[in-house]
């Protein structure tokens, strides 16, 4: 059967032509294409890896950032709290100091007032004593203008004095 017997002429030409085309393409055709595409694939793979790395780094940055933000917030609230405390303390201190000062002033004032009062009283007493002496003088001068009354008065004074002596 002629279908399954290979024809020599065709065998010959096939070897020659296929071999020639294969030689040309293996030299100038396929390696150019495959090398280039392989290089490109390698580059793509590298780029993907790089992108992954960058993404990972970004993620870690993000975490860091969040941590920093958290820390800052904590610090802020801490400072705020401290400030409030300081304020309260200062106010309380000031109040206490003011109170003390006021008390002191008050006490001093009271003391002064007391002293003033004392001296005033003393003055008044002195004045009154003086006045009463003068009044007594005048009264005495007037009453003792006669002898009789002078005597009576001296007696009375002696009595009184003696009574006072006895009592003491």
């Amino acid at each position: 059967m002629n279908l399954v017997t290979p024809d020599f002429g065709l065998l010959f030409w096939m070897v020659v032509i296929f071999g020639l085309v294969f030689f040309l393409l293996a030299k100038f055709g396929f390696p150019v294409i495959t090398d280039m595409v392989d290089k490109r694939s390698a580059k793509i793979a590298q780029s993907l890896k790089d992108a992954d790395e960058i993404e990972a780094r970004m993620a870690s940055w993000k975490v860091e950032q969040a941590q920093m933000l958290e820390a800052t917030r904590k610090e802020q609230s801490q400072m705020l709290r401290e400030a409030t405390e300081t304020k309260a303390r200062i106010v309380a201190d000031a109040k206490a100091q003011a109170q003390a000062e006021a008390d002191k002033i008050l006490t001093e004032a009271k003391a002064q007032i007391e002293a003033e009062k004392e001296s005033a009283l003393r003055d008044v007493r002195k004045e009154i004593a003086l006045l009463s002496v003068q009044v007594a003088e005048k009264v005495l001068r007037h009453e003792l203008s006669d002898e009789g009354s002078q005597r009576a008065f001296i007696d009375q004074l002696v009595d009184e004095a003696s009574q006072a002596q006895m009592r003491s």
């Binding site: 002629n2 279908l3 399954v4 017997t5 290979p6 024809d7 020599f8 002429g9 065709l10 065998l11 010959f12 030409w13 096939m14 070897v15 032509i17 296929f18 020639l20 085309v21 294969f22 040309l24 393409l25 293996a26 100038f28 055709g29 396929f30 390696p31 150019v32 294409i33 495959t34 280039m36 595409v37 392989d38 290089k39 490109r40 580059k43």
Partner: protein, 350 residues
Amino acid sequence: MILTFLISLLLQVSGGDTLSSASLRDPVRANAPERVSPPENEESSDIDVGEIIFEHIGDEYEWHITEWKGKPVAIPLPCIVIDNGVHVFTLHHAAENGYTLNENGKLVNAATGKRPVDLSITKNVLALIMSSLLLLVIVLLTARWYRKHDAMKEAPTGLAAAMEPLVMMVHEMARENIGEDYRKFSPYLCMVFLWILLNNFLGIMPFFPGGANLTGNIAITLVLALFTFFIVNLSGTKHYYKEIFNPDVPVFLKPVMPVIEVFSAFMKPVSLTIRLFANMLAGHIMILSMVCIIFIMAKYGPLLSGSMTLVSVLFGVFLDALECLVSFIQAYVFTTLSCIYIGLARAKEE
């Protein structure tokens, strides 16, 4: 046009031809053969389907394209024979040079009846030259794109974009199956794959420059398989040959295994040859048979021939689609198997 064609065809069938008898050309892929001519001369419209089919899938010394007004339109091709010197002539002048065709349609020496060394540029050789040139141009143009452009920065366009997936598919296949020195073998595998694919598709094409049944020709597939065979066995590692001649098997198997292994090494190219050849040939025969049904049924009246024409056109379309699939699958299978065989031959000791 188709009508003229069909009429001329019927005339041709009834008239008979001296050189290439029964030259029914493939009209199915013209895809409108519903209008079948009425049987003009019933007594002589018996069509020899076998002859038509064999003439299609076989080889010939001129490229018969069609019939025009009862005369064959063919590209004359040079017959080259070596038989006491080189003789070059066209088929029409075969007799003058002392050659004639034998019953298989091959040139023989008219005097002795023996086959000379026949290096004629036949239809298949011309198809081979054209398709190989086409492949050469396609791949070199693709390679040119990669030379002229920076593939790192631009995506391939046009031809390069179309060819890249095919080439890279085979390249990846080589990488997966062969191992670290796959780059040495990848061009061969790419070449085989693209060559078979291109010729399978050209084979389905019903008109010039396609239509030659190259990949369904056993000489062609044999050469392809032998290329694989030599590449496999010339690049075989020590380990590969040890596995063939001195495998690690129980002692009583030692004498048997080399025989089996050597036989299997030689059967690999045979199976490659037959697989591709038979698949493509069968596809061609099926499609041609579908087409022939139209012409066989022509004499059975309009109803029967009309309905059968519809059926065979539908089947023809289906078979053509199937052939497109088979074209790819067979190219892929041949390449994959070649790749696996090379991979086995490059095996290293574990």
